[in-house]
C-alpha cells in the first residue's frame, strides 16, 4: 500500500511538472484544449496563435467522416470542441450529447454572415457556431465540357455517355444521393422509399454504364491536374482547384444542391468549456477566420473575411465557387433522420458493389 501511495505521489508530481513545463504565460496557462476536427481543416498558424494568445496547450485529433467522429464521441471520448456537419449536429442534439453555448462568453455572432446563421439544425445557434460553409457542385474542364450541356442536363451530365470514363463521383452516401434526388427533382431530405429507390436505380445505372471513379479527396489534385472532365465536388475544394488550374470551372445545377456547413460545438462531457468558448471566438475573429480560409480554401462564415478573399486583393478573386449561392429555392440544408440514413448508407454500399461487379 505504501508503495502505491508513493507511486501515486510521484505520478502527481510528474504531471504537475509537465503542466508547468510549458512555460506559457496567459490566462489559460497550463490548461489543455482538446479539439476533434476534420483533417487539414485549420489555418497554418491557427493553433499556434491560439496557444500563444491564451497560454494553453491544444491537442487536436482528426477525423475523416462525421460518422467516424460520432462513434468516438458517442462512446464517451471527451473533447472540448467538435467540428461536425449540419446533419450530424442535429443527430448529436437529438441524442443529447451537446451543451448549450454560453452567449455571454461569445463575441462572434455579429461578425458572421446571416446566411449561415439560424439554419434548421440549430435555428437560434444555441449550440453551434459555423466554421466553414459552402455548396456541392460540379467541377468541370472548360476545354472538354460544353457549358450548354451542363445547363441542359444539370447533375444528369453524370449519366451522359459523351463523358463515359471521364467522371469522378464522390464516395459519400449523402452527397451522392443528394445529387440523384436533386436530379430527379425530389427533396434531398426525402423519407419516401419510392423516391430513394429511384435515386438508387439512377446511381446504379451510372456506375454500370459510365465507368466512373469513386474517390474522395483525390478528386482535388486530380482535377487540378485536369485528369478527368467532370466531378462532384465541394465548393471549397472547387475554389482551390480553380485557383490552381484556370481551365476548370464550377457549376451549380438549377435543380438545387446542398448548402452545407460545418460548425463548432461543445460536447456535454467537455472538460474545459471556458477555453472552448475562447477558441470559438478566436476562430470566428478576422485573423483566425482569414488564416483558416486562406489555407484551407473553404468559405469563411466571417463576412469581412469572405468579402476580402473574394475581392480584388483576395486569393479567390473571380472564383464563383468561393461564394455559396443564395436565393435558389431548390437549395436545401441536410437534416438528420436515423431511419433514412441507414437505408441510404446501405444502398450506397450496394451502388459501390454494383460498380465493382460492373468493372
Amino acid at each position: 500500500m505504501k508503495k502505491l501511495m508513493l507511486m501515486a505521489a510521484a505520478g502527481l508530481m510528474a504531471m504537475s511538472l509537465t503542466a508547468c513545463g510549458g512555460g506559457n504565460e496567459g490566462e489559460y496557462a497550463g490548461q489543455t484544449l482538446h479539439i476533434y476536427n476534420w483533417g487539414e481543416y485549420t489555418g497554418e498558424n491557427l493553433i499556434s496563435d491560439f496557444e500563444e494568445l491564451t497560454g494553453c496547450d491544444v491537442v487536436m485529433d482528426n477525423f475523416e467522416s462525421n460518422e467516424q467522429m460520432y462513434i468516438r464521441v458517442a462512446n464517451g471520448d471527451s473533447y472540448d470542441i467538435l467540428v461536425p456537419s449540419d446533419y450530424m449536429i442535429e443527430r448529436l442534439l437529438q441524442e443529447d450529447l451537446l451543451q448549450p453555448l454560453d452567449k455571454e462568453k461569445l463575441d462572434c455572432f455579429d461578425k458572421l454572415d446571416p446566411d449561415v446563421l439560424g439554419l434548421p439544425y440549430d435555428p437560434d445557434n444555441e449550440y453551434s457556431v459555423p466554421y466553414f460553409w459552402g455548396t456541392v457542385g460540379i467541377v468541370y474542364d472548360k476545354n472538354k465540357v460544353d457549358l450548354a450541356d451542363l445547363e441542359a442536363e444539370g447533375f444528369g451530365i453524370f449519366a451522359d455517355e459523351k463523358y463515359k470514363g471521364d467522371i469522378y463521383l464522390y464516395d459519400s452516401e449523402r452527397d451522392s444521393f443528394m445529387m440523384a434526388l436533386k436530379y430527379l427533382g425530389y427533396s434531398m431530405n426525402t423519407a419516401d422509399e419510392a423516391e430513394i429507390n429511384e435515386a438508387y436505380e439512377w446511381l446504379v445505372s451510372i456506375v454500370e454504364t459510365m465507368e466512373p471513379e469513386i474517390v474522395t479527396d483525390e478528386i482535388i489534385d486530380n482535377m487540378a491536374q485536369g485528369r478527368k472532365a467532370l466531378g462532384l465536388i465541394y465548393s471549397g475544394d472547387a475554389a482551390y482547384v480553380i485557383s490552381e488550374n484556370p481551365d476548370m470551372g464550377f457549376y451549380l445545377p438549377e435543380t438545387g444542391t446542398n448548402i452545407w456547413s460545418d460548425a463548432m460545438v461543445i460536447p456535454k462531457n467537455a472538460e474545459n468549456p471556458d477555453l472552448a468558448h475562447e477558441f470559438i471566438n478566436f476562430v470566428s475573429s478576422y485573423d483566425g477566420a482569414l488564416d483558416n480560409s486562406v489555407t484551407v480554401g473553404y468559405t469563411s462564415p466571417n463576412l469581412e473575411v469572405m468579402e476580402y478573399l473574394s475581392g480584388e486583393e483576395g486569393d479567390y478573386y473571380g472564383i464563383d465557387a468561393y461564394i455559396p449561392r443564395s436565393g435558389n429555392p431548390n437549395d436545401e440544408v441536410f437534416s438528420y433522420d436515423p431511419d433514412t440514413r441507414v437505408i441510404i448508407s446501405d444502398l450506397w454500399s450496394r451502388v459501390k458493389i454494383a460498380a465493382s461487379n460492373a468493372g
Partner: protein
C-alpha cells in the same frame, strides 16, 4: 522453472483483455441485434440469413476470395525463386538479401501503399514508361491489376521469409546424396528440395492468403471506391452504416472461412509430410 511460469500471468491477463474479449464481443454482436426499447438486445440469426441470401454480398465475397487466391499464387511463383536464390547465397550476402526483403516492412503499410498511388497514377512513372514504349498512356490506378500489385507487394515478404527459412534449415547433404545417386539438378529439386521446403510454402500461403482475403485498405487506396471487397463491406458496416451487428456477423463468417482454410492447409501439409515419410 515453475517459478518463472508465474511471470506469464500478466501476459495471460493481457491476452484475455486484448485478444479473447474482443473476439467474444464479435460473437455476441454477431448473434444479436439492437432489439427494442424494453430489451436492449435479443438473440437472432437474421444477420447471417441477410448475408447468405443476398447475391450482392456473396458476389463480393467470391471476388475477395478470387483476388486473394491470385495474390497467393503470384506470391508463391515469384517468392519461391527469390527465396531459393537467397537460401543458396553465401552467408554474408544472404543476410544482406534478407535485410533487403525485411527493410520495406519496417515502413507502415499505408505509407507504402500511398507511394504506389503516385507511381501508378496517370502521369506517374509507370504510365510514362508505357508511353515511351509506344503504348497509349492509360491509367493504371483504380484497376484490379493495381490492387493485385499492391497486395503482392505488401504480402510477398512473408512468403519469401517462410520459404527461405525452411530451405535454409534443410540438410544440404541430402542434395549431395541425391546427386551421388545419379539424379540431375531438376530431379534433385523436384524430389528432394521442393518436398522438404513445402512446410515453408504452406505457412507462407497462410500468411499471404489470410490477410489478403480480408484486406480493406489496399483495395480502397489502389482500387478506388468502386473496388469493393469483403473487408470494405465490413468496414462500411461499422463506420458508415453503423450496423455493428451485421458487421460482426460478416467478420465472424470471415473468421470461420479463415479457420477452415487454415485447417485444410494444415491437413494438406500433414498429408504431404506423411507422403514424404512413406517415400523413404
Amino acid at each position: 522453472m515453475k517459478r518463472f511460469s508465474q511471470l506469464a500471468a500478466p501476459y495471460i491477463v493481457w491476452a484475455v483483455i486484448m485478444l479473447l474479449l474482443p473476439m467474444l464481443l464479435i460473437v455476441l454482436y454477431a448473434f444479436t441485434d439492437t432489439g427494442n426499447e424494453i430489451m436492449t438486445f435479443r438473440f437472432t440469426l437474421e444477420n447471417f440469413v441477410k448475408f447468405f441470401t443476398d447475391p450482392d454480398f456473396l458476389l463480393v465475397l467470391w471476388r475477395s476470395i478470387k483476388i486473394a487466391l491470385k495474390t497467393t499464387v503470384i506470391c508463391v511463383l515469384l517468392g519461391y525463386p527469390i527465396a531459393y536464390f537467397i537460401a543458396f547465397s553465401p552467408d554474408r550476402m544472404r543476410n544482406m538479401l534478407i535485410l533487403a526483403i525485411t527493410l520495406p516492412t519496417w515502413i507502415n503499410m499505408l505509407v507504402r501503399t500511398y507511394a504506389w498511388i503516385g507511381l501508378l497514377s496517370e502521369g506517374g512513372i509507370f504510365s510514362q514508361i508505357l508511353g515511351l514504349l509506344g503504348f497509349e498512356e492509360t491509367e493504371l490506378l483504380y484497376t484490379e491489376g493495381a490492387v493485385l500489385l499492391g497486395m503482392v507487394y505488401n504480402f510477398i515478404p512473408f512468403m519469401i521469409l517462410q520459404i527461405n527459412t525452411s530451405l535454409s534449415k534443410m540438410d544440404r547433404s541430402l542434395m549431395e546424396a541425391s546427386n551421388d545417386l545419379g539424379a540431375d539438378g531438376i530431379q534433385t529439386f523436384l524430389r528432394v528440395t521442393l518436398p522438404l521446403s513445402l512446410p515453408g510454402v504452406v505457412s507462407g500461403i497462410s500468411l499471404v492468403f489470410l490477410p489478403a482475403v480480408s484486406s480493406f485498405s489496399i483495395p480502397k487506396l489502389l482500387g478506388g471506391g468502386q473496388f469493393f471487397l469483403i473487408g470494405n463491406v465490413i468496414e462500411n458496416q461499422f463506420i458508415t452504416v453503423g450496423e455493428w451487428n451485421f458487421g460482426s456477423s460478416i467478420s465472424l463468417i470471415m473468421a470461420l472461412i479463415m479457420m477452415g482454410t487454415m485447417y485444410v492447409i494444415r491437413r494438406l501439409d500433414a498429408y504431404a509430410a506423411g507422403g514424404r515419410k512413406e517415400g523413404r
